[in-house]
Symmetry: C2
Subunit: 139 residues, 2 copies
């Protein structure tokens, strides 16, 4: 089995389950919206930064933020340090979703560790962290 599929299959499982948990908790967010949402920092993040982090164009990021804003999950506030820019911030309404996602992620990691063992899980994480050094275009 090729390494691409080996990386992708667990990733997709993780993403699907987290989305399901968030949806079950009553948050109506799509996958693309969630990918943007999780990149927003605690003090707000500029659209351009979000676009880079999520690997989409500014237009796409703007489109998704528009939807998130309409749904009340984010708000845009002026950036005090730059008159052109605005900061996208997570609203109180969306704050509750973060721990839901975090808990589901922890649950999944625990399941994985149970199956492959603590040692292998540690090796997996170590290898991936090293691999990200050469494959992440934003570091």
């Amino acid at each position: 089995m090729n390494i691409g599929l080996l990386l992708y299959i667990p990733y997709r499982e993780l993403e699907n389950r987290i989305m399901a948990a968030v949806t079950a908790a009553g948050y109506d967010v799509t996958l693309a919206q969630a990918r943007v949402l999780q990149r927003i920092g605690p003090d707000g993040t500029r659209l351009t930064e979000l676009a880079e982090a999520a690997q989409v164009t500014k237009q796409t990021a703007g489109f998704l933020v528009d939807q998130l804003e309409k749904a009340g999950y984010v708000e845009r506030v002026p950036d005090p340090t730059d008159g052109r820019a605005r900061l996208v911030r997570i609203t109180e309404k969306a704050q509750g979703a973060l721990p839901v996602a975090g808990e589901e992620m922890a649950r999944i990691e625990a399941e994985w560790e149970q199956h492959i063992g603590k040692r292998r899980m540690g090796q997996l994480r170590e290898a991936l962290e090293k691999l990200v050094e050469v494959t992440d275009p934003y570091r």
Copy 2:
């Protein structure tokens, strides 16, 4: 850094580079088309099977196969064992793309091994193969 992103970043790099290599070799295929294409077996595969393997609906798979067919990369032939079914087969035109993808993949794996070391690469593969046992819905 969360495990999801750790899995996704190298995956995306792999996918992007393979797509770039295939495109550079003169094959005009989209990512979604490629995901279907790589699931087609040597003797042809049914649409329904492709849909399951690629994790999309039959309609979506059909839509992508239509495009691949128009571009001359696949053909549909009757399934001799089932009058309702048709086998999607890779045409000669598309055969050349497979080694291009394979070579790029091997090149990337070699680079990764160079960076993280042979030992870690082995551990990574071992851990992922074990992980796929519990995360692959199609096995």
